[in-house]
Symmetry: C2
Subunit: 152 residues, 2 copies
Amino acid sequence: MISNKAKYAFRALLAIASQPEGEALTSAEIARTHSIPHKFLEQILLDLKKAGILDSRRGKSGGYVMLRPADTVSFGEVLRLFEGPLAPLPCLSRNAYRRCEDCVSEAACEIRREFGRAYDASRQVLDSRTLADALHNNPYGVEPGHEVRRAG
Amino acid sequence: MISNKAKYAFRALLAIASQPEGEALTSAEIARTHSIPHKFLEQILLDLKKAGILDSRRGKSGGYVMLRPADTVSFGEVLRLFEGPLAPLPCLSRNAYRRCEDCVSEAACEIRREFGRAYDASRQVLDSRTLADALHNNPYGVEPGHEVRRAG
DNA sequence: CATAATGTCTATCTAACTGGTAGGGATAAG
DNA sequence: CTTATCCCTACCAGTTAGATAGACATTATG
């Protein structure tokens, strides 16, 4: 199960990304319309800003807007931001690679091999599908080469 | 990342499943050869026994053997035993279904839709691959209908 | 029967994490 | 100057992870 924090982040991002270009949403508005604890949401939006996904305006008539276009923000990227590495084993993570303490051979490890298959399958979805795909309900797995579109 | 408990369980199961028919492995042997804390492993093996996957013999020359054949025990089943539901969202879990607190429509939920795709992909691997597949390094995705072999 | 080696069960402990809450401070509009 | 907003940090209660400990039950063997 993903954390509430991550789930809130997706709700907020989808709300912000579906605003008309340039129109900001305040944390209070998002919190109210999506039943998210306000101060908790503020932390989340701040994280998204620090990650370069959102931009913010302070003061009266402030709020949040997308900094990067919604079709460049993948589900995997957001999830990693709040959950850390998505790999089921440390030895399968690209960014947070760590060998298992008592590993003899990664190539021969059955657990690594099988979980690698599961991870590949999951990653192919999460790292290719973007906020824009979700909002437009874009079909999945139709166009060839969809695995690596704008969202890296 | 999966828990150490689950990882230890897979190590132990693969060790037991690769023993010659009828030959038991003791918790102490497994703990030593795989660098697993002995008492911790005992709890794990007990869980696997209670789940009907392993059988045990007590007393001198005791130990653990497979109760069900290795080609009927899927990775998903073992993982669920130690990690609980694998679904990324409660509303995607078959066994532990729960609607999101403030859900308006599951059919319209973009988050549910996208995570459903990721979960499907991952589940297709985990619920089809068995301990025997892992031990024999059986190829994956070759034979049609492999999704539902002996392991349900 | 005694002993030693095993599995079985339950309790306990510490550190980290989850899911918040709280209270300011900085900034900008009007 | 007031008010609404974002920004930042600290804190807290409950749960979970990852064990550790100790006693009890069962069985093979001498």
